[in-house]
């Protein structure tokens, strides 16, 4: 149950390092806020959404695990919980965005709305008041799910509870439906409304799948690394690694399917209202990002994860998972920044500093959760 002293010390060092990095980057971001408030808020949106995506994705996979059970889940359940339990602090960290809604969203700017009949038409949904209200509702619902799902009455922390003995199965089934619905609305609110004239019905699923993929990939990468380097953290059996790799493979395919479907449908229809989104993102240098995503968010991981040998090696599976997490940041920048600089590649240093600031604090919280609820050897799981 408890970790050896050496691991505890190492974890504490890493937490201290993460907090320092996060605070230092946070101070730099504050300077950026004073220097250029508009840019700060736009970059901070990327920082918040990247880490919220990881936690939200982990919550989805966590509920999936409790619903269907399986050895792959037992191997990473503590990591998933550690990630999902960071949703409440993320909700608080997102508060500064409230001061700059007008800088980020054109529909939050009354002057712009006045001269735009379409934005006036969408005003009942897209207005700062209801945006903040929905934002609060999402985080309350997700945080409640994250803690309700992880709560254990019956067996000890390190005992397997095969599907639903505590009635958790039903909660997770409903929770997953709520997760997809709220996730879709959040994706529309936070990302799609950056370009409020544009719409795509597959968008919510596409964004949510990207988050689930990245959230799961982060957990796999962390579990692979920590189980190899930290004493007292159980090694993940090859069969479980194989399953984790296969699930990652499936997520990569679903993400690619959804992302390409949107492109194919808009490309086929060739309607001006819809194609603007891709003109903004596949022109003036942004096409590099598109190619990067096609190659490293899909093609390379797809081919690598076909290999059984790779999936059974914690080191190599961890590397592929790390690439996928990195590519999620590339995807997020590609989704957000062209809304402000259409067809014109321009990345501000704050776009990378903000994810670092939120990430330092997030990662410290993740490690702290893991050290207080460590991934120990589970009883009743075949090796």
């Amino acid at each position: 149950m408890s970790l050896p002293e050496s691991t505890r010390t190492r974890l504490n060092q890493m937490i201290a390092m993460a907090v320092t990095t996060g605070l230092a980057a946070g101070v730099i971001c504050l300077i950026g806020w004073i220097a250029d408030g508009t840019q700060f808020h736009r970059s901070y949106l990327i920082g918040i959404l990247f880490w919220t995506g990881l936690s939200l994705g982990a919550l989805g996979v966590l509920m999936l695990h409790y619903l269907v059970d399986g050895n792959w889940g037992h191997a990473v359940v503590r990591y998933l919980e550690a990630s999902a339990r960071l949703l409440p602090p993320l909700g608080l960290l997102a508060l500064p965005l409230g001061f700059g809604l007008q800088e980020i969203y054109v529909w939050a700017d009354p002057v712009r709305v006045l001269g735009d009949p379409l934005l006036q038409h969408k005003l009942p949904y897209l207005n700062p008041g209801s945006f903040v209200l929905r934002y609060a509702a999402y985080f309350v619902i997700w945080s409640t799910l994250a803690f309700a799902v992880g709560y254990r009455r019956g067996p000890g922390l390190n005992q397997v509870d095969p599907g639903g003995k505590e009635g958790r199965g039903a909660l997770c089934a409903i929770g997953l439906v709520v997760f997809v619905v709220t996730g879709t609305f959040a994706a529309i609110d936070w990302l799609m409304s950056l370009e409020p004239h544009w719409f795509s019905t597959i968008y919510g699923c596409m964004i949510l799948m990207g988050m689930v993929l990245a959230g799961f990939a982060f957990v796999v990468a962390a579990a692979c690394r920590m189980s190899r380097h930290l004493e007292g953290i159980p090694v993940i059996p090859a069969a479980a690694l194989n399953d984790l790799g296969s699930l990652l493979f499936a997520f990569v395919m679903i993400w690619a399917y959804l992302t390409f479907s949107q492109f194919l449908l808009i490309w086929s229809a060739n309607i001006v209202e819809e194609t603007t989104w891709y003109f903004a993102r596949l022109d003036g240098g942004w096409q590099t990002f598109g190619i990067l995503l096609a190659v490293f968010h899909f093609a390379v991981p797809f081919v690598l994860l076909l290999s059984r040998e790779l999936k059974r090696s914690a080191r190599r599976l961890g590397s592929v998972a790390s690439v996928l997490v990195t590519m999620h940041l590339v995807e997020l920048i590609w989704l957000v920044v062209p809304a402000f600089h259409a067809g014109h590649l321009r990345i501000h240093w704050l776009d990378l500093m903000a994810p670092l600031a939120v990430g330092g604090l997030w990662f410290a919280g993740f490690l702290w959760q893991l050290s207080s609820r460590p991934p120990t050897k589970l009883e009743g799981v075949p090796a």
Partner: protein, 181 residues
């Protein structure tokens, strides 16, 4: 037993009551040095393939090849049809419009990979096989119901009818059968 009869023996079959007994027997046969060993069970038994030394198959390479063939030929078929055989101007798009080729390319990839998987599996298993000597034993019928069989083939280098029979009898089976060719 006369030599002529021994030569016409295909192998020795042992019948077990439980998957655990079969698994144990298989492990003992492997550690005794037998390599030409088969096991028959009514349902998949976890760990049996490993203890039979059946760890690598040609299936992954076959499926990958099938996928590759399906992917390339599916794309080329569409390219040939849309650009050479029957070019149609669709809303001014180029004849070679790769985005619209992707879904069919994906389908043919999956189709060919799946066909290679199924047919390759049958082929590597030597199926269909109209005749196999183990079916000469009437009790073998229960391999598809509730009995578990271990079969040591006479072509095994270590095979000796009397010794192998004694070896199997020591594993406490229900019964041991000599299987004629």
């Amino acid at each position: 037993m006369p030599m002529t009869e021994a030569a016409r023996i295909h192998g020795v079959l042992a019948e077990f009551d439980s998957p655990e007994a079969l698994l144990q027997a298989t492990r003992k046969a492997a550690s005794a040095g037998f390599t030409e060993v088969e096991a028959y069970t009514p349902y998949p038994v976890h760990g049996l393939a490993d203890s039979l030394g059946f760890t690598r198959t040609g299936i992954p390479a076959l499926v990958f090849t099938g996928g590759l063939i399906g992917c390339i030929s599916g794309y080329l078929l569409q390219y040939w049809v849309s650009v050479h055989a029957y070019p149609i101007n669709v809303g001014g798009r180029p004849l070679h419009s790769w985005p619209s080729f992707i879904p069919v390319t994906f389908e043919t990839t999956v189709l060919c990979a799946a066909l290679f998987a199924v047919l390759g599996m049958l082929g590597l298993n030597g199926l269909p096989m109209p005749y196999h000597p183990v079916f000469n034993i009437p009790q073998f019928e229960r391999a598809s119901q509730d009995r578990f069989f271990l079969y040591i083939l006479s072509r095994d280098e270590k095979f000796d009818l009397r010794e192998t029979r004694r070896f199997l009898e020591n594993l406490k089976p229900r019964e041991v059968f000599d299987v004629p060719e």
